[in-house]
Amino acid sequence: MAAPKRKTDIGPPHYEQMLHPMVKKNYGKWKYHEKVKPGVLMHVSETGDKLYTVRAASSRLVSIDKIRDFCNLADKYCDGYLRFTSRNNVEFMTDKEANVQPIIDELAKMGHPVGGTGNSISNIVHTQGWVHCHSSATDASGVVKATMDELIDYFTSMTLPAHLRIAVACCLNMCGAVHCSDIAILGIHRTPPTIDNDKLANMCEIPSTVASCPKAAIRPKVIAGKKTVEVVEDLCMYCGNCYTVCPAMPIANPLNDGISIWVGGKVSNSRTAPMFSKLAIPYLPNNPPRWPEVTSAVKNIVETYAKDAKKYERVGEWIGRIGWQKFFEKTGLEFTKYHIDDYTLASSTYNSSTHVKF
């Protein structure tokens, strides 16, 4: 007995129906653009047409009512078209310069500041955190909100030496690929899972629990005649995979979970090749709802960079020029043994030269 057939494998709607007529007409014909002011771009076409874009902040987690507000605005000023950016900002495009200010004003009334263009701090890409994920060591949306409230002036201006990109991931899985950001805020578990032996025997399949660990740290064990498991703590990297399989092995530990800060990554190829972010601060406490230790640490790094970097230097390029010694000196951050890599290929990060600054 086959269930009723329905359409499958049709893919997304064609993008052409989503494009403003002016965008469609000038597709592939754009000649140059200017940043008119923070958050406002003007693209000029070979045909002479001009397109204005207003970029505004969004919280990524948005309600359908908010989306409808965006739609109303787009209907009023943008002939019913809008888009979202790769960093979760929202963009309103119009061919009428006169519409730009009213769009900005209405966005301001809705609580959505305009900015994120050029040498600014754009929106923070982030993951799910306590809003939706079982693995999270911290919240994501709340950390973002608290951080951007502090850094808002850098979003609405273009005064930094270069682009500055921040990302938040709430555990080592890094769904948002934060490992190439100028500043990465990363949730960390620091303790192995705890094991509830009584529950484990009933709730979890031992072989699959053992197999779930990427480090082979979990071994079967019998305690008081009950089949359970043990974790070899030296091998555990706190990834939480075991908890995913076996709810009797919670990885979350409110006392010890927290946040680490990484700096100097980039993905664009301009000037220097893309780079990974490197460890700046191994641990800060989880302090909801506003994470003051985290926001002030980020602010300190941003301000030190803003003062010291040369024009067009991204954070990683700035550190490349001054060296990590000076980075720790200028930011006043503590250097610890945790900063020294001890994972695979760690030795490539050791200083095998006499290049040292005093």
């Binding site: 269930a3 072989p207 699959s208 995979n241």
Partner: protein, 81 residues
């Protein structure tokens, strides 16, 4: 050539035999099925077709276990009753 029904039958019984023992994934299953019938008798495409039908008929379901698995339909352990 092995018929689609033969492949489906064997595939289903393979998954059944793993139930509760091993989380089995598509590349692994495909290899086993082809080995059983021989490459001349059964291609990757045939296995794919057989699997698609079994899934559409809801005799087998997709699961997730550090990557996608194939399983018998069952009530999810972590679901809140």
């Amino acid at each position: 050539m092995a018929s689609l029904e033969e492949i489906k039958d064997y595939l289903f019984h393979k998954v059944e035999s793993y139930a509760g023992k091993k989380q089995v994934k598509v590349p692994h299953l495909t290899q086993e099925i082809i080995e059983h019938f021989g490459e001349a008798e059964c291609s990757k495409k045939d296995v794919k077709e057989a699997l698609k039908e079994l899934i559409d008929e809801e005799k087998l379901v997709y699961g997730y276990y550090g990557g996608t698995t194939i399983e018998l339909p069952h009530v999810e352990g972590s679901a809140n009753a």
